[in-house]
Symmetry: C2
Subunit: 173 residues, 2 copies
């Protein structure tokens, strides 16, 4: 897909294609459409990030709350979005043993109780040991710092999804 | 459902129940959860409205772009949300004749081209003649005024959906 095609999309087409760049937040793609034309992947990415940064804190937390737990109930039930399913699978989270799954579930629950949103991480860039290590580490950080880190992960996930859609090289990003 | 139940929900339960109060924008319910506890329906409604009002214009337009056309492609395809399906049906939009459907499709396309978002109206409060009349009338208004009117309709839809969920009397609202 080249940028000329992207820039010629009406909002319905644009939301169909980019609606899940930010997990379960088609509102953000629908808002970003207002900023067209886009000069390229980085420009598009910049507008997604700027929209997130401009939200009040409750909205930023809202974005995080639209994300599923890693290796959580939605994975078990098969109700993940296609993108999440692929990402969790590539980090090895779809093939955990019972003990690892339990350990992750317990850490996820503690994280949610402490911060009021689920643990979000660009899983595709890590393996499962790194996911568990990161979760245990981030669980103890100050809430304001953790919100910033989590939103940074949302943006990384978005960048990788944009690169998939536009045929870019995610290793270069 | 009483407010004690609502106020005891974790964010996952809250988004499951209230995620479509604003059509296809679970982010907004997820953000509103930050404001709990709620004193009642009106208080909840106030927080949904305040979040919408605080968005930049691109975000407000984004909300509108997450709405389906009235009697449009999604109704034909059966891909409307359950709430939209019920609302469009109660306005008689699911049983239009071919000519009316064509007329509506043509007006919807002109509206989208002019404003950059679809025509949104609390369909449940109107019959199909009123829907067509309103669309023809709003098509010619200044964009800034029309954005305000459309967001007012989003809030009316949200109020009715909240009343459904909480067992309130929509006639009183």
């Amino acid at each position: 897909m080249d940028m000329e095609q992207v820039n010629s999309m009406d909002f319905g087409e644009f939301v169909d294609v980019f609606g899940n760049v930010i997990e379960r937040c088609p509102l953000i793609a629908a808002a970003v459409w207002s900023q067209r034309p886009f000069s390229g992947l980085e420009d598009l990415e910049k507008h997604f990030s700027a929209f997130i940064d401009a939200l009040p804190q409750s909205g930023q937390e809202g974005i995080l709350r639209c994300h599923p737990d890693l290796a959580g109930r939605e994975l078990q039930r098969g109700t993940l979005t296609a993108e999440s399913q692929r990402e969790q699978s590539s980090a090895g989270l779809t093939s955990l043993g019972a003990e690892e799954r339990l350990q992750l579930a317990e850490l996820n629950a503690r994280y949610r109780a402490r911060f009021g949103f689920p643990f979000v991480l660009a899983a595709r860039l890590r393996d499962r040991d790194a996911v568990l290590r990161e979760l245990a580490r981030r669980l103890h950080r100050p809430p304001a710092q953790e919100l910033r880190t989590a939103l940074g992960e949302v943006k990384k996930i978005g960048r990788l999804r944009l690169a998939d859609l536009l045929g870019g090289d995610p290793a270069r990003l």
